[in-house]
Symmetry: C2
Subunit: 327 residues, 2 copies
């Protein structure tokens, strides 16, 4: 040791200096400063009874500002609890998700927050994740011991579509992502419930599913708008589909004289600049950052309780608000 003392003395000094002579402490600190010595947190957390201070967070698409905001909320709460975030992007791919989860567990994270890519649950069973606390966000998975925080997908969609119907729209297309994503099915249920209540039926030619990114959503919109009997409104079930739809609408807005009027948009998920769109926009609104905060809070509720698995699994459904962004 640079200060001519044993490692033990350094440890004690860095731990607060109890039972170390002040002058020795000073020497130790000087050496620490000079060498830029830092305690090895990996080794520290290896000691019995110590945790890693790490939370594993796996989301499906970091490129979607929605999930960036979600991660932001998670990080905010985690920082408050002195934890760090191990972040992974599954890209809506189950294999990648499995690898992420395995790796996080191997790295001794204290808990997992996951936006699941599918309904697959084998890799999420207690044994697979070493009985770690698990929080599922945005989407639930059947048959898993986990807390879940989701949105009022069905109700929000129903009320959103009802709002459109009240405004006089009759041919509302459905633009959704892959059906392996649980939310899209719930949102579709709300969509058909609203139509049914209004005495309308779901028209399969108006339903397009499977768009996972902006580009494919734009293409699907283009097909819809070019169809012989195009929609007068589009229900985009997430942020990516909404942006894609609007980009196609934007492409057609210029130089457009008297062709078909452009459709209005109903979007699940808010997005920036919604109020400046050239068509009517209604938002089924909620705050992804708050979703992240609440997900993290659920996790820390368990982590900070003495018996993490006494409490039954919570399923929180966050409300959504239907809001006219652009009349």
């Amino acid at each position: 040791m640079r200060a001519g003392v044993s490692p033990m003395t350094v440890s004690r000094t860095l731990a607060g200096g109890t039972n170390v002579r002040p002058d020795v402490q000073a020497r130790v600190m000087a050496a620490v400063d000079e060498l830029g010595y830092r305690r090895n947190e990996m080794a520290r957390s290896l000691r019995p009874g110590h945790r890693s201070g790490l939370i594993g967070v796996a989301i499906t698409n970091l490129g979607n500002p929605y999930y960036g905001d979600f991660a932001f909320g998670v990080e905010e709460i985690a920082a408050k609890f002195g934890r760090r975030i191990l972040l992974g992007n599954s890209g809506e791919d189950l294999g990648r998700e499995e690898r992420l989860v395995r790796d996080f567990v191997g790295r001794q994270v204290e808990g997992l927050i996951l936006v699941p890519a599918s309904q697959e649950n084998q890799h999420l069973q207690p044994r697979e994740i070493q009985n770690m606390p698990l929080v599922l966000a945005s989407r639930m998975v059947e048959g898993v011991r986990a807390d879940s925080i989701v949105l009022d997908d069905t109700g929000g969609s129903r009320r959103g579509v009802e709002t459109m119907l009240k405004s006089g729209y009759r041919r509302i297309a459905f633009l959704g992502n892959a059906t392996s994503v649980q939310t899209v099915n719930r949102r579709f249920a709300g969509y058909s419930a609203a139509l049914q209540k209004a005495g309308l039926t779901v028209e399969t030619s108006l339903v397009a599913m499977g768009q996972q990114d902006v580009r494919t959503a734009q293409q699907a919109t283009s097909v819809l708008l070019d169809s012989p009997n195009p929609p007068d409104a589009i229900f985009a079930t997430n942020n990516r589909n909404a942006i894609g739809a609007l980009q196609e609408i934007g492409r057609r807005v210029t130089g457009r004289a008297g062709a078909h009027p452009l459709p209005a948009l109903l979007s699940f998920d808010d997005f920036e600049l919604a109020s400046l769109m050239p068509v009517r926009v209604v938002i089924i609104d909620h705050d992804p950052r708050e979703l992240g905060r609440r997900a993290a809070q659920l996790l820390f509720d368990r982590l900070t309780s003495e018996s993490p698995f006494d409490a039954p699994n919570a399923t929180i459904e966050m409300p959504t608000i239907v809001r006219v962004a652009r009349p």
Copy 2:
């Protein structure tokens, strides 16, 4: 051990099974499956000559889709190299940044990628970060041994402003974030250079700096537009200021008859739906995800070289393209 063997046999089996009898391997694997056993990566990486497989990434604002995209790019490359991301949000706060960096170092990350919040460099000195490879992204810091990847801030801004001048705009306001952020100064330099070249001078009443989020940017825009001699165009030096400006513009667009015409927008950073805006929009364009990829690539270039510090520090300046998004 559940399978009645020593830890060593388990280790060998999990490592590929060399020198373990097949039937013993089977027993071990059965026990592993049953118990959900995972190797402890923290303990593994504690062994001499082993690295943690972790990269520390600190960005300034995860709530900005720009940085979400940046993180996406970093994660993409890191995953390719089998590394995980430890993600932290500094919130443009130096203290938080310092704590993040210290913590990352303590956790034995293999390298750091940082969007620095300021020009402060003390906490980034080699000794402070244990001689770890460091990559600065988007913003540089003087007096630091690090690779940097930045944008052509000055040139891009100059060309952007020139484009606006060519289109006939004469009163171009400058909407920038805090001057502690390096890029804003570089972008201001490009702005004034273009004005000067056109025989114009910077009008201080048209310069608003310090807006770090959408809300304050919107307020600043409101003040500019209400001034006696308002701008005919606004140069927003980043994504957040552009969105704020547009939100204020959007607020004024409805019911607007013959008052002042609304200003055009020049934005450093692209944003979704730029082409659908109600005013002319010119973008000084570049890809934040690619920025993230390149930053990560710079880091792995060093990490995979035998002598990580032989190569001199690289400073890459990524080009920007001036593009009319909404004529």
